[in-house]
Symmetry: C2
Subunit: 104 residues, 2 copies
Amino acid sequence: MLARTPPAPYYAVIFTSVRADGDEDAYMATARKMFEMAHAQDGFLGVEYAPGITISYWRDEASILAWKRVSEHMEAQRMGREAWYAAFNLRVARVERDYMFERT
Amino acid sequence: MLARTPPAPYYAVIFTSVRADGDEDAYMATARKMFEMAHAQDGFLGVEYAPGITISYWRDEASILAWKRVSEHMEAQRMGREAWYAAFNLRVARVERDYMFERT
């Protein structure tokens, strides 16, 4: 659940969304596929997910742009705008510092 | 649910957590109180929330630090480390660009 990221700086893509109704099976299948594909991308550092929020972490802006342009991801983005989301926010942010806590 | 933030740049505090068992009532009461108090802070821009993930948005680093040092918030942070969370990640990130989509 929690991503173990390397020391800052690195980048976060914060994707928050409100789903449109319906098409649950196709949406979930694509979401799973995109998770798998993102993990295999160069520069991918990890992901943290909860319903309506996905935060993926990346080494640099170049790796974010490369992932944005993967053709199957572009098709998923198109479906997202045309069918799956009523609204979403996408934010690209530079993580400047972080703090990890784990109960001992 | 989705926060309407002003044009970038601004800051995001990404808090992802795994709860420890128990103490649900005190935890929820404090979480609600902290939401209310954060909204009243100078520089607070909005919040996006899902179970296990809270992202708050802030005008600048100074407003993040001021909120960190509010005494009731410091007490909530202490309880978080001592009782409520098994683990958490806290990341401070500078939002460099964003894109908002809303179905018309």
